[in-house]
């Protein structure tokens, strides 16, 4: 069988981030992949050492555009632990409320992108339209659609009135209705199931050995969730179920994410019901005493860990940020093994790479004719849609069915 290596590039000037994969194929089957990352490396950790803690909160928040609250909460928790600050309960509840709302908007976004990757664009249009509802709620609560800027060292910066929380409840009811609809699609739709199951398989042991985190690991029966194992903020008073799934593949990850949405709605309702009164923040000193702390956070994509070392001045000595996607990327090469090229887009999208810390480039050199073709991400995506349509799995019928379900 002709064995040839497909380096995947160049960056496609569409939504996708710059990333470089080199995939060795034998015929259609992928044998091994190697990754070239770092195109998005901005040197944030060095910049943190040159700025004060107050400024760092906003710098760390912009590591990734979609899970900004995760990074800022994780960082602020570490600093509070070093400085020995006790955040008032209401502040913790508000922080957790924004965290869950961010998980809702991030999972809806992923649902659309996954649909787009396999050629099911109706799902993209629908999930992004519903996502606008959550974005508007977050904008009215925190003052910005993304990068909410809610966290400060010692608590949160804004308090919410009763009416605002009432509105959030109304929004959650609407979204729950829509998510039931998506669960129905994810569970029953045969074409979706055929297209996703068996793709990007990651066994339980591999998931543990390669350090997969978040929904990617939970879909391989790894029962780990930082919110339950290492509770932070207000998660210890919340009762919620950690969703795990035994499919070990992309279909399992879809199920885990969609069901996690339902859990988030329950948690948001519980948070608003139990929201205690009182102050939302405590005054933080400008100079943080010497010490070091490790803090973890369950971001929508997985475990996000920060290590902060303080030396008594108002600037941190060292800030280490490890985004969840870096952990999941290790297992991608294992997932891609003996899949075919057509499965690359959806397998990569399934770990829901937090775009700003990964990069994707696709370069195809055809050994027979020897000329170098540069297959962009978009064309690889369409190639895979077509490749599957050839095997009878196709979404145009499905688009209609989903739309009709929608109007029922």
């Amino acid at each position: 069988m002709a064995r040839f290596t497909i380096p995947i590039g160049p960056q496609h000037p569409a939504l996708k981030e710059p990333e470089s994969f080199s995939i060795t194929l034998s015929g259609e089957k992928i044998i091994e992949t190697s990754m070239r990352l770092g195109y998005n490396h901005r040197g944030i950790e060095k910049a943190c050492e040159e700025r004060t803690y107050v400024q760092d909160v906003y710098l760390i928040e912009r590591v990734c555009g979609i899970c900004s609250h995760s990074h800022s909460t994780c960082f602020v928790q570490a600093v509070e632990e070093i400085a020995g600050l006790v955040v008032p309960p209401r502040g913790l509840y508000i922080r957790t409320l924004i965290a869950e709302l961010e998980r809702v908007h991030s999972h809806l976004l992923w649902l659309g992108v996954a649909g787009h990757e396999i050629g099911f664009d109706t799902l993209l249009m629908y999930s992004w339209r519903d996502r606008e509802i959550v974005m508007d709620t977050l904008a009215s609560l925190t003052g910005n659609r993304v990068n909410y800027g809610m966290n400060t060292i010692g608590g949160v910066r804004r308090d919410f009135t009763r009416e605002q929380l009432e509105d959030v409840l109304k929004v959650v009811d609407v979204l729950e209705e829509r998510t039931k609809y998506y669960i129905e699609v994810a569970m029953e739709e045969s074409t979706l199931i055929n297209r996703l199951s068996g793709v990007g398989a990651l066994s339980h042991e591999d998931a543990l050995k390669l350090g997969a985190v978040g929904p990617t690991a939970r879909a391989s029966n790894v029962d780990q969730d930082i919110r339950r194992d290492d509770p932070y903020a207000a998660y210890k008073d919340l009762s919620f179920k950690v969703i795990t799934d035994g499919h070990n593949d992309v279909y399992g990850r879809t199920i885990v994410r969609v069901l996690e949405l339902m859990e988030s709605y329950k948690m948001i309702r519980e948070l608003i019901a139990k929201m205690p009164d009182g102050p939302v923040a405590v005054k933080a000193p400008r100079k943080i005493p010497a010490g070091e702390a490790v803090s973890r956070y369950e971001a929508p994509r997985g475990e996000d860990i920060h290590f902060v070392k303080a030396n008594g001045t108002d600037k941190p000595e060292r800030v280490k940020v490890r985004a969840p996607t870096l952990a999941n990327l290790q297992s991608v090469s294992k997932m891609l093994e003996n899949n075919n090229l057509a499965d690359v887009p959806i397998t990569l999208a399934a770990i829901d790479p937090c775009f700003s810390c990964t990069d994707r480039m696709i370069r195809v050199n055809d050994c027979r004719s020897g000329n170098k073709d540069v297959l962009s991400w978009e064309s690889l995506r369409l190639f895979s849609i077509g490749w599957y349509r050839h095997r009878g799995i196709d979404f145009s019928g499905l688009n209609g069915k989903l739309k009709r379900m929608e109007t029922k």
Binding site: G119, M125, E378, S379, N399
Partner: protein, 311 residues
Amino acid sequence: MAWPLFWILIFPGFLFLCLLGWAVEYVDRKLYARLQNRIGPPWFQPFADFVKLISKEEIIPTEANPVMFKLMPVLALTAVLTAFLHIPLWSTTPIVSFDGSVIVVVYLLTLPTLAFFLAGWHSTSLFSTIGAVRTLTQLFAYEVPLLLVVLGPALVAHTWSLGKMAEFYNQRPLLALPNVVGFCVALVTLQGKLERVPFDIPEAETEIVGGTFTEYSGRLLGLFRLAIDMEAVVGASLVAAVFLPFGLGLGPIVGFVLYLVKVLFVVFLLALLRTVTARLRIEQMVIFCWKYLAPAALFQILLSLVLNRII
């Protein structure tokens, strides 16, 4: 006198076709957007796109053969224009009418596809070569059913000239009814000829980001898009002339309005087809054409032969 010049340049010729082509593109894009619950572009959008493209700087790749690179859009345009002269618009006598004009029109409509192929081939970028090869494979798939289906009514009318065919059906409109199957097949194959979704495989957004027109920009791209718009008008009026021949010869004004209605009706059906279906892959498209369209066309021919026997 300068009648022929007037015919070629102004009336059923270049200017008229340009305006109608842009109108058809506008209707198509607006309908497509409205079906997606969006507003869609303003009415002058196709004209603005064309003028902008004409005024843009065009880049000709160094490896590409400049003569062929520039010639292809012109070839596509001329083929479409000459085809339009053969089609009876509202009176039963088209500008040029001779025995065998049906074959000539269908042949002239394939020339633009060849122009697209050569354009893609000559711009040497890998994307466009793949796009060009796909244009040809697609040509073989939809060409046979289109030709067969257009010949059906010709058999019944015992003539190869479009003018006489229109006259024949004008006197006996009822005879056009059995051509319904042919009408549907013609619509689907026209969609393939115009390279629109679901058959837009060689087009820009296909598997290869660039498609046939990757390397084109500025004036040449503008001419190509104009050629495609005109081809849509010519294709629609051919289908209208062959399959909906009633109401010809009722005088110029009424005839003209009726002709516009028929063309817009065909364009509406094409736009609907474009919104409703998803993009096919190249093998699937070829299988679809040979497994479903060709037999339907043959059935249409059989029907016409039987009709021939009866009348």
